[in-house]
């Protein structure tokens, strides 16, 4: 049973796991604007209490999908079902959601109290209960005492939290966040990220957040939906998205990634120039051009002298540049055979052993379990 308006928001009641029931299912949703296809046959299920991020570059359709779920944009085709009820044709007023916009859209002429109470007023709730509920919500977002202030008198982060409290006031079953942090500066952003995540976990409200910031998605989401050109590229947990990218696009969009031009060989093998490299199982035909993707932190460097020259996946490279990035050093190497460049992140405590300098020749090891093969030319965003 969902908590009633005045029930205390205790951890025990709010965060009851309901994770096996579907909250929202999106079934074959498409949206066309003239000849432009913003969403192409999207299918997705979102579980009760889940925190899902729509991640992708601008123009990928993530905001359109969010607005479609809210009913602010009407889909050209497809069905939306929320808690078993077909909402495809319902106007926003008849759907069950709260929303926080990028601009917050706080009403400038209303106080913080009236902004938060905006949706409660309409429900003929007694004044005393409204007061209680607003106080409760403001306490939840750490803004107790700001009731009488106007939005213009608040900082960006505070405005953001008022918008969040306003969206939660009517206890929606679904919380929609449209790039809620992108208007804030980096320090506030990091702080709010964990606050929102903690709040969501505490209330247990199913949440969908749109973002173009991969770090935001990786740190906050239970599951990430990576989108590009109006289609879903991959759905998965942050770890799965990061470690097992399903496509070259996902691999290049999340985190840093090296792409080396190779020729596919028989299973678990590719040819980099003339050097054979081991990789994870792939389905590309032998002899086809392909790209070998490997994260900079997976690349292992070692001194020439100690390199095992004839081991599969062992290569040589010349250091072209070294960037100091605090916790690690980013080393750019040139592979001698076909002048491809490779980036390796070397943790600071390892780099002293290598005593790195530009022009140095190093042995490179590409671990097979971190090397994935994708069809050539598929990484363009």
């Amino acid at each position: 049973m969902p908590p009633t308006m005045t029930s205390p928001l205790s951890v025990s009641t709010a965060a009851t796991p309901r994770a096996t029931t579907t909250h929202l299912s999106i079934d074959g949703v498409s949206k066309r604007f003239g000849s432009f296809t913003a969403l192409d046959n999207i299918a997705l299920e979102i579980q009760e209490g889940e925190f899902v991020c729509f991640l992708g570059p601008s123009g990928c359709g993530k905001t359109t999908l969010l607005r479609t779920i809210a009913g602010l944009t009407r889909q050209s085709a497809g069905r939306l079902t929320q808690r078993g009820k077909d909402i495809s044709m319902l106007p926003p007023q008849a759907r069950d959601f709260g929303i926080v916009f990028q601009s917050y859209a706080l009403f400038p002429n209303l106080t913080v109290f009236n902004n938060v109470a905006y949706g409660l007023r309409n429900r003929r709730v007694e004044r005393a209960r409204i007061n209680d509920r607003v106080a409760e919500l403001l306490a939840l977002v750490n803004l107790t005492g700001s009731e009488a202030k106007y939005p213009a008198a608040l900082s960006g982060g505070q405005q953001q939290r008022v918008a969040l409290a306003r969206a939660l006031a009517t206890e929606p079953g679904l919380l929609l966040l449209d790039e809620p942090l992108s208007a804030l500066d980096a320090r506030v952003r990091g702080h709010l990220r964990s606050q929102i995540k903690a709040l969501q976990a505490r209330l247990g409200v199913t949440t969908i957040m749109v973002t173009h910031d991969q770090e935001e998605a990786l740190t906050m989401a239970d599951r990430i939906v990576v989108m590009n050109h109006g289609v879903i590229e991959q759905v998965g947990t942050p770890a799965a998205i990061y470690h097992q990218p399903a496509s070259a696009f996902v691999a290049s969009f999340i985190g840093s990634m090296n792409f080396l031009e190779v020729t596919a060989q028989a299973n678990r093998q590719a040819l980099l120039g003339n050097t054979p490299c081991a990789c994870l199982p792939h389905t590309i035909a032998v002899g086809q051009a392909a790209q070998l993707a490997i994260r900079p932190e997976a690349v292992a460097l070692s001194l020439q002298a100690r390199a095992l020259k004839h081991q599969a996946g062992a290569l040589n490279g010349e250091v072209v540049s070294i960037e100091f990035l605090g916790a690690f050093q980013r080393v750019t190497l040139r592979l001698p055979e076909d002048h491809q460049t490779l980036i390796a992140d070397v943790p600071s405590r390892d780099s002293s052993k290598l005593s790195l300098y530009v022009g140095q020749l190093l042995a490179i090891h590409l671990p097979a379990e971190a090397a994935r093969l994708y069809a050539a030319g598929s990484s363009q965003q």
Partner: protein
């Protein structure tokens, strides 16, 4: 495609979207009945003979074969072009003085400069007769030329059109980017080159737009040439003469169609310019601040105060003329003329009618126009309807008052029209005035609404609050300054207009501005002046109240408007 049409068919209209649709349809109906139908009726009338039979372009052929009528085209063009030259030239210099120099007394000048807007265009014409007419105390200045004719018309029009041009050009010149001027200075550019390469290109759209607005106002004005034109006829007075004097409605329609052309042309040019003018000034522009330059500042101050002096002289003359016993023989002061003995049914009744009209238009018009603009700008769905409404809202700007008034006669005075009962009523005058001045108010509303966060309505909907609640709790209060501007604009225009309503009153609904015309025609010049002054003072008082109210409201709103 099949699936899409199925989706559309299956859309269940909620109560809210139903209400939205009904209000939208009401808005469209208002402008169809109040603008489109009358105009179409008028166009048809120009192609019919007296019996109502279709005769093609025969009326036009007849028109162009009558030298007395065709001359008016040349006359109209002549006075309109001269007025445009005088007004835009002076207004540009004064606007430059206000925005680009450190001349003293800018605020006082701006206040004096907008006074003509508060008076009917009949007032300067009456004053000019007192100043330069056969018994005027400045008649020697004209060196034997008569004020009754093109000279008087140009002077009178220049007086009341000047504030419009000044406001447009001040706005255009205010938008400057100091960084460009600094760059020019750093490169050692001489002042005149800076003016030609930075200042003029920066205001070119504002300047062109201003030229067309002034030209349209001048060519369509009725009040000034009616009073001071003498035998010199222009298109607007021809419409009046054909209809009221000779009861030749078909020819009136023909002249109206011809009068419509320059206005439509100017409207199209203006729209085209507006579209090109998008974001000329980047958000990062730094406003340019003038520095002291005594010679330049005093030259501009002298010029501006010469203009302000002329304005005060014209208004002062009207006031004085309304107060003296019998110009120029008995100059003792009296309030006798304010009893309006020249009018059988008393002049104060007409003034009261005008007041009723102005308040009704200000109240109804502001609500209708702002709400319609909100529907167009901020609501979802019914796209064709919203676009149609927007198009019709832009149209009145291209329709001169005389044309609209005549079109109303044709449409509402038809025997078979079920709305026939409206003819001659105050309601019809309200409708006519509302439509006549619709466009400027619509544009003001749209500009104000575009400045609001686009997601207010979406937030309201997500919180299950009906759209009208969000409208009156958020949108309306936040846009209040614009709403007040619209209402005072409508009030003043309803108070001063004469061109459209001159065809539409009956004995119970005669208006003050029309009374000025009748008193003047009947030879009661001092009473005509008194009525014109009365209109001016009424507008002035309302304008001052508006300023005070805006000040109080903005002060109250400071609490939330000001970021801390």
């Amino acid at each position: 495609m099949m699936a899409e049409s199925l989706i559309k068919a299956a859309t269940k209209p909620s109560l809210e979207s139903l209400i939205r649709l009904l209000v939208l349809l009401a808005g469209v109906a208002l402008l169809v009945v109040g603008l489109l139908f009358p105009l179409v009726t008028m166009l048809l009338k120009s192609l019919q003979d007296r019996a109502g039979d279709f005769i093609g372009l025969a009326n036009f052929a007849h028109y162009f074969q009558t030298p007395a009528l065709v001359n008016s085209i040349a006359n109209s063009l002549r006075v309109a072009l001269m007025t445009t030259g005088v007004v835009v030239g002076l207004a540009f210099l004064c606007a430059y003085g206000i925005t680009r120099t450190c001349m003293p007394g800018k605020r006082l000048f701006r206040m004096l400069a907008i006074l003509p807007i508060l008076a009917p265009s009949l007032l300067p014409a009456i004053s000019l007769v007192y100043l330069f007419g056969n018994q005027g105390f400045l008649r020697e200045v004209l060196a034997g030329q008569s004020i009754y004719g093109p000279i008087g018309i140009v002077m009178g029009m220049s007086f009341w059109i000047f504030p419009h041009a000044l406001m447009l050009l001040t706005t255009a010149l205010t938008n400057s980017d100091a960084r460009l001027y600094e760059a020019a200075e750093a490169l050692g550019t001489p002042k005149w080159r800076t003016f030609l390469t930075i200042t003029l290109p920066g205001v070119r759209y504002g300047l062109i737009s201003c030229l067309f607005v002034v030209f349209t106002l001048a060519i369509t004005d009725f009040g000034v040439p009616k009073i001071i034109g003498g035998q010199f006829s222009v298109l607007a007075t021809d419409v009046y003469r054909q209809v009221v004097g000779q009861q030749n409605f078909q020819m009136g329609a023909v002249v109206s169609v011809i009068l419509l052309l320059p206005a439509v042309l100017s409207f199209i040019v203006d729209r085209w310019i507006q579209r090109r003018q998008v974001a000329q000034l980047s958000a990062r522009a730094v406003p340019w601040q003038p520095t002291l330059s005594p010679l330049r500042d005093w030259v501009f101050a002298l010029l501006c105060y010469a203009v302000a002096g002329a304005i005060v002289l014209v208004i002062g003359t009207a006031v004085y003329a309304s107060l003296v016993q019998f110009w120029p023989y008995n100059l003792s002061i009296t309030f006798e003329h304010y009893t309006f003995q020249g009018m059988a049914d008393g002049g104060w009744g007409a003034w009261f009618n005008s007041l009723k009209l102005a308040f009704s238009v200000a109240l109804v018009g502001t609500l209708v126009i702002f709400f319609n603009a909100w529907l167009i700008e901020k609501s979802e769905g019914f796209r064709p309807l919203r676009q149609g409404l927007h198009f019709m809202a832009m149209l009145p700007m291209a329709v001169p008052g005389m044309v609209l008034g005549l079109a109303y006669i044709f449409f509402f005075n038809q025997a078979g029209n079920p709305l026939n009962w409206l003819y001659g009523t105050m309601m019809l005058l309200v409708l006519n005035t509302l439509v006549h001045f619709y466009t400027v108010c619509h544009l003001t509303s749209v500009t104000a609404l575009k400045q609001l966060d686009p997601e207010f309505e979406a937030v309201g909907a997500s919180l299950k609050v009906p759209f009208w609640t969000t409208f009156y709790r958020v949108t309306l209060p936040v846009s209040l300054p614009a709403v007040l501007d619209i209402s005072v604009y409508l009030f003043v225009n309803a108070m001063t207009t004469v061109s459209a309503v001159v065809f539409l009153y009956n004995s119970d609904t005669r208006l003050a501005s029309v009374a000025v015309l009748h008193l003047d025609e009947a030879g009661y010049f001092a009473s005509a002046a008194a009525m014109a002054v009365l209109i001016f003072l009424t507008s002035l008082v309302v304008k001052l109240l508006h300023a005070a109210l805006t000040h109080v409201l903005l002060n109250n709103a400071q609490r939330w408007r000001q970021a801390t």
